[in-house]
């Protein structure tokens, strides 16, 4: 575990980004499908408004891979721009919890940016993203917040050097809406890890709860 600057973790509601909602009528309870989720940074053409989240607190995340489900709760973490993200790991519960960077957009229906979620991958602890290496393009990522269930589809997976100041360009633009980026460690040999696994998933559907 590399030394990282101290970070603040909070489970209380945070107010960093408010989801951008249009003025169109909401379709509570309906399944909305994104119009164009493949374009880089392009917002879906026909946006269906989902009521904004009542809060921006903890949410759950599931990655449905061919090898099984990865399921974790996601807390919030505050990290300075360009700084490494080291999710808390003082307790077993912290090892097992992923973190959403509150400086990025909160997962929501038609967000105004990218949501970044970091989680540990472990050999000696129970960690949320240990099996993220099994994810492949096309797998679904399902995020459940207090107000909605968001379904993303993995569109890109790659490696990124931990020594880099930021994630690769295809994942580092935090202004690209309607996507989530998952980051964890990639183990090369034994416990050696010099790279991150970076998974980019785009929003496909939103279901209000």
């Amino acid at each position: 575990m590399a030394s990282a600057p101290p970070v603040r973790v909070t489970s209380t509601p945070v107010q960093s980004h408010s989801p951008s909602t249009s003025g169109s009528p909401s379709t509570t309870g309906s399944l909305a499908t994104a119009g164009s989720a493949s374009g880089n940074g392009s917002a879906p053409s026909a946006k269906t408004t989902v009521p904004p989240a009542a809060d921006q607190g903890e949410f759950s995340l599931v990655v449905a891979t061919g090898a099984g489900k990865i399921s974790t709760s996601v807390d919030a973490i505050s990290v300075a721009s360009g700084q490494p993200v080291d999710p808390p790991h003082e307790t077993a519960a912290q090892w097992a919890t992923a973190v959403w960077v509150e400086q990025s957009s909160y997962p929501s229906g038609w967000s105004d940016g990218t949501s970044y979620v970091y989680g540990h991958a472990c050999h000696h602890h129970v960690c949320p993203f240990t099996n993220l290496k099994d994810a492949v393009v096309g797998d679904r990522v399902i995020i459940t917040t207090a107000s909605s269930t968001l379904t993303y589809r993995i569109g890109q997976i790659g490696l990124s050097a931990k020594s880099a100041r930021s994630l690769p360009s295809w994942a580092s633009d935090s202004t690209v809406p309607d996507r989530v980026v998952l980051v964890t460690c990639a183990f090369e040999q034994g416990d050696t890890s010099t790279q991150n696994i970076v998974v980019v998933a785009r929003l496909q559907a939103v279901r209000a709860r």
Binding site: M1, D86, W95, G119, A164, A171, D173, C185
Partner: protein
């Protein structure tokens, strides 16, 4: 001796320079600099300076020397004198910002020399910020000096006064207020840049060996106690 003669000659030479020279200072005047250059009122139509607590209009400086961030400078004439306040107005360089304004006034004056109002680079604080920056600053034009002097009210640039220009970039760094204004104009902070994840783990380093050592030690002590106890019982048995 020679040094004294040279000094005397220099004094005589300066005496011929008229007002503004060092001799003028010796005659009971002082050079003053305007304040409130960064916190003036907003008025896009003119630059308006005031010197307060002037004893009479005759004692008011006939001109003040103003320098702008675009490199221009000008002598601004006294435009009005009311109630002991001298007013100086100019409509030059409204697209720039004032970096310094100086004047020479009689010794013993103790009023205020302020930039009363002038163009503001940013809208008033109560108004909402402009939409996201869609317009980039204009490219450097020929009328814009290649390098703008650093902000200083006491060291105006020595460049000559160019003609008033409306094409000069108003966003050249001139003062602290300029920096703040530029930050306000460009609005929000840069987007978040996600860093690398320190998301691996390693075997617990100190827990397992310590547990092993304690366990081994405990077992050893238990074994020793058992042996000693057994020997003690055997000795007692022999005596009885």
């Amino acid at each position: 001796m020679a040094l004294g003669l040279a000094g005397f000659a220099l004094m005589l030479l300066q005496g011929t320079l008229g007002k503004g020279g060092a001799a003028a200072h010796a005659a009971g005047v002082q050079e003053i600099s305007a304040k409130a250059l960064t916190s003036h009122g907003c008025d896009d139509t003119e630059w308006h300076f005031v010197i307060t607590s002037v004893d009479s209009e005759a004692l008011a400086p006939p001109t003040i020397q103003v320098t702008w961030a675009n490199g221009a400078s000008a002598d601004v004439k006294l435009s009005a004198f009311t109630g002991g306040v001298a007013h100086y107005r100019t409509e030059a360089n409204l697209d720039s910002i004032v970096t310094s304004a100086t004047a020479t006034i009689y010794d013993g004056w103790s009023g205020q020399f302020n930039l009363s109002h002038g163009p503001c680079a940013t809208p008033p604080p109560s108004s909402t910020p402009p939409p996201p920056p869609s317009s980039t600053p204009p490219p450097p034009s020929s009328s814009t000096p290649p390098s703008t002097p650093p902000p200083s009210s006491s060291t105006p640039p020595s460049s000559s006064t160019p003609p008033p220009s409306s094409s000069s970039a108003p966003s050249s760094p001139g003062s602290a207020s300029t920096t703040a204004a530029a930050a306000a104009v460009t609005t929000s902070s840069p987007p978040f840049v996600p860093g690398a994840g320190q998301t691996g783990d390693s075997p617990p380093s100190s827990g397992l060996p310590l547990r092993t050592v304690l366990l081994t030690t405990g077992l050893g002590l238990l074994g020793c106690a058992s042996v000693l106890g057994l020997q003690l019982l055997r000795r007692r048995g022999n005596h009885t």
